[in-house]
């Protein structure tokens, strides 16, 4: 079927019988398909996915740079490379950046790009809202990072922002320090973005599936998208309220976390971790989804125990809300609470282990193609297994009393977050690169980057287990040379530099491939799921010439093994759709970015306590939303240039 298409627009539709609607200039729809305007006004889930991806990778590099500065400071004892204050800003921003501005949006990039393709949809349920979620994300990222460029400096209270260190009494003892206000505001804005985006994904997955795509035929990545989206909408409110209460304390003199007014700083910890623990799964479940796509493709057999993998993912999400206090074993919760959270935390290891067993089961009896994405996916399995086991060690509260806030914990969560999330996301980039850009990375360079990253990562973080067990606490800018920590720290720093080289190779190769890489066929890996059925790579704007009908779990695999049947079916459906007016696409819009800009302006003025500006920002946002509502979803039609269907 030809991908060659012509388009017409609703309102200029010569086929329509209705009178042409006169639209005010305010509501003129942008129609550019290339250039800056097309990106600023896009509602295409693929373009939004790319915007998320590019921003996330940018912030990934920023966060990585911050990490390298931290490691250089710690390379030798009693180092004077950076000041305590800068060190504190760096570890605060490194964590905040990596969690909220790198891993989450990179997952969101895949949600956006792949999920609609995997369920056979032409876009998400609310395309303009999807654009809005991205622009709001960017606004939050700007607010968080603006501190680097102003006098007050970047946020320095830790990514967990434990009260009362965030109160005005301690964060700005001597002068109006807005770094904490920026942090509070930035996280709130990012929360809006995440919740709005997730609501959209939930509706899309539940409501926009292609015919035959039952819930138990959803690709696992889509399933994990759904679970993650639910985790986000249910967990972000807790931190948002905590941040609101903190903001009230800082700006309006309440005492939610202020001891002198009867506040309980421990309440912050509870609210934070009720969000914070599901957040851990928000970071890892998408990665598990990606790996669950890659392993079957390269093992060339279906995922082992699909229902159990799906069910365990949902169980992890559910239990994830019941284990938050294992971050607080050292806060003196008492024996019963400690025991209960200890046992629940152990319980969550079961569904996680189940996933590992099933992945191994997927490999078993397969015909493993050791391509670059597969290398990263296998790397994920090894590293995530290590991180998982040190996680089980933490679940034993008495052992955790020694490990909490030590480098053992740093080692643990980097194994889970880099060895887990980042490895899987890097695998995902490799895996879907041919689909997104129509080119593929050379196997040599891809595998080289994998090995350098893999070795650098282990050299950096494995010694940290020993540092923690040898008593080195986290978040310390200097340490003395007589504590037995020198060797491990130096090794870790060398490892971090190797890891940095690996990442540099990885991205260098990606950029080279984007411009000069080998062109691919559109089913490069002989894959199994619907996203690979797009008529061309990169996929056309309308994704599918014909909305697919799904007959089996690995829908594309089924199509490939039942070619004749599918051809016939597609021809019928294409005809039906063309008779119906063509392929309907949502129109682009200026208002998501206008509303998000209003939010950004308002937030920056609010943080500086300039209320007129804050109100002005709010007014711009309201106007954006108002015109957004008034302009309506719009839409236009694409008619494929195919003589069989050209009925007009």
């Amino acid at each position: 079927m030809s991908a060659h298409a012509k388009t017409d627009f609703v309102g200029h539709d010569t086929h329509a019988a209705a009178p042409v609607e006169k639209r005010s200039w305010l509501l003129t729809r942008p129609t550019a398909k290339t250039g800056l305007v097309s990106w600023l006004t896009t509602v295409d889930h693929k373009k939004i996915g790319l915007l998320y991806g590019i921003s996330a990778l940018f912030f990934f590099l920023v966060g990585g740079f911050e990490a390298l500065l931290i490691r250089i400071q710690l390379a030798v004892p009693n180092n004077t490379f950076i000041s305590h204050q800068l060190y504190n800003e760096l570890f605060t921003m490194h964590a905040t950046t990596m969690i909220f501005l790198a891993v989450m949006p990179l997952s969101a990039a895949f949600f956006n790009y792949m999920m609609p393709l995997q369920i056979g949809a032409r876009d998400v349920a609310f395309p303009r809202l999807n654009g809005f979620a991205f622009w709001v994300f960017l606004a939050g990222a700007i607010v968080l990072n603006i501190g680097w460029f102003v006098k007050s400096g970047a946020p320095d209270a830790g990514w967990f922002g434990y009260a009362p260190l965030t109160s005005t009494a301690y964060s700005n003892q001597f002068a109006g320090d807005m770094s904490t206000d920026l942090w509070v505001m930035g996280l709130q804005i990012l929360g809006v973005s995440s919740v709005v985006g997730s609501l959209n994904f939930i509706v899309t997955i539940i409501n926009m599936r292609a015919p035959g795509m039952t819930m138990m035929r959803l690709p696992v990545f889509t399933w994990m998208t759904l679970v993650t989206a639910f985790l986000i909408i249910l967990s972000f409110p807790a931190i948002t309220i905590a941040l609101v209460e903190l903001m009230m304390d800082r700006s309006f003199g309440t005492s939610f976390f202020d001891v002198s007014g009867g506040g309980l700083p421990i309440l912050w910890q509870h609210l934070f971790w009720i969000f914070g623990h599901p957040e851990v799964y928000i970071l890892i479940l998408p990665a598990m989804g990606i790996v669950s796509e890659i392993l079957p493709t390269f093992a060339r057999k279906p995922l082992f125990g699909y229902p159990i993998i799906v069910f365990s993912g949902a169980t992890i999400g559910f239990l994830g809300f019941g284990v938050w206090s294992h971050h607080m074993f050292t806060t003196g919760m008492g024996t019963v609470a400690t025991a209960a959270f200890s046992l629940l935390t152990m319980a969550i290891a079961v569904p996680t282990g189940v996933k590992m067993f099933n992945w191994i089961g997927t490999l078993w009896g397969g015909h493993l193609q050791m391509r670059t994405p597969m290398m990263f996916a296998l790397g994920f399995m090894w590293m995530f297994m290590m991180g998982g086991f040190s996680g089980v060690m933490h679940s034993a509260a008495p052992a955790d009393a020694q490990q909490q806030d030590s480098y053992f914990v740093v080692a643990h969560f980097h194994y889970v977050l880099i060895g887990g999330s980042i490895f899987a996301l890097l695998a995902g980039i490799h895996y879907w690169f041919p689909l997104i850009f129509g080119r593929k990375v050379s196997e040599f360079w891809g595998k080289l980057s994998f090995w350098v990253i893999f070795i650098g990562f282990n050299v950096t973080f494995f010694p940290m287990h020993f540092l923690g067990l040898n008593g080195m606490p986290r978040r310390t800018a200097v340490y003395d040379g007589n504590m037995g920590w020198n060797d491990a720290n130096l090794i870790a720093t060398v490892g971090a530099l190797v890891l940095g080289v690996g990442i540099a190779i990885y991205f260098g190769v990606m950029i080279y491939t984007y411009f000069k890489g080998e062109k691919t066929t559109h089913d490069e890996w002989d894959a199994r799921t619907l996203e690979w059925t797009v008529p061309s790579t990169p996929p056309p704007e309308h994704n599918f010439d014909v909305i697919p009908t799904v007959h089996a779990r690995d829908a594309f695999w089924y199509e490939k093994t039942h070619k004749a049947e599918i051809e016939k079916e597609k021809a019928e459906h294409a005809k039906a759709e063309q008779d119906h007016g063509g392929i309907h696409m949502p129109s682009q819009s200026w208002f998501p970015i206008v509303a998000a800009t209003g939010l950004l302006i308002g937030a920056i003025f609010f943080v500086n306590h300039i209320m007129i500006g804050a109100i002005a920002g709010g007014a711009i946002m309201f106007l954006g939303v108002y015109l957004w509502a008034v302009e309506g979803p719009g839409g236009y039609h694409i008619h494929l240039d195919d003589k069989n269907h050209d009925k007009h």
């Binding site: 005010s24 349920a125 905590a242 939610f256 008034v630 039609h637």
Partner: protein, 282 residues
Amino acid sequence: MSTHAAAGAIDHHHDHTTTTGIPNKKLFMWAFLASDCMFFGALISTHLIYRLHETPNQPDILGIFSLELTSFSTFILLMSSLLMALAVNTCQKGHVGATRKMLLGTILFGLIFLACQVYEFNHFVHLGLTLNSNMFGSTFYTLTGTHGVHVAIGVLWLVLMYIRTFKPADGSPWILKSFIHLLVFAVVIVAGMKALLGGVHALQTAHGLNGEAISLFFEHDFPAIVVSAVGLVALVMLGRDRKAVEFGEANAVDVESMGLYWHFVDIVWIVIFTVVYLLEYI
């Protein structure tokens, strides 16, 4: 009242059936409300935790609360839910006129609830309970204030929906008019609220409805009374539009989603009323 006239014969957003048969907007609202539950859950937990802890400067809560007033506003909010349900029902049947009336009724009841809350907050502040006078003030105002913001957003949404029922079917220019309509609403609401509270104040000062109260009322609130009266007339004029409109049965899902939100806000209020107010009396 042709629904599809303006969009042409090919509007797939309305005739495109979803996988589950539940309209997207409605599903979105359900998911959002699940999220909103957690917002209120966190706020109510905060309130309860601090209520169960010893905090300094604990106020005489029973001496501050007025159960009669709050019961009244609770009742009003519940009744607004009834009107909201009727608005959905009439819209589903395509009776735009009746829908408008029900929407206006819901708006009015929502505003009465908000007026009660403004009065209550004012009153409490006079009694010395402020946002930062003590922990009870902090949690009380933050929780009920967040709920009030939800009601206010609901009212704004209702107003926008009401205005939208006038969007002409022939596609003639309407944005500016809709914006003016919105502004008039805003003016009437603010001035009316001020006049209403001024009236209550006058009644209290004069200890009853008497000549003194009336003269006090006109003395203090004359501009507000005039502005709200003029605004009301303008609203009536704007509401007498007899052109064919686009709004119809197809918009029932919009009204219904809004209704879900409104009912949710009401239910949350019942929880707040129980936890924050009634629990103090046992």
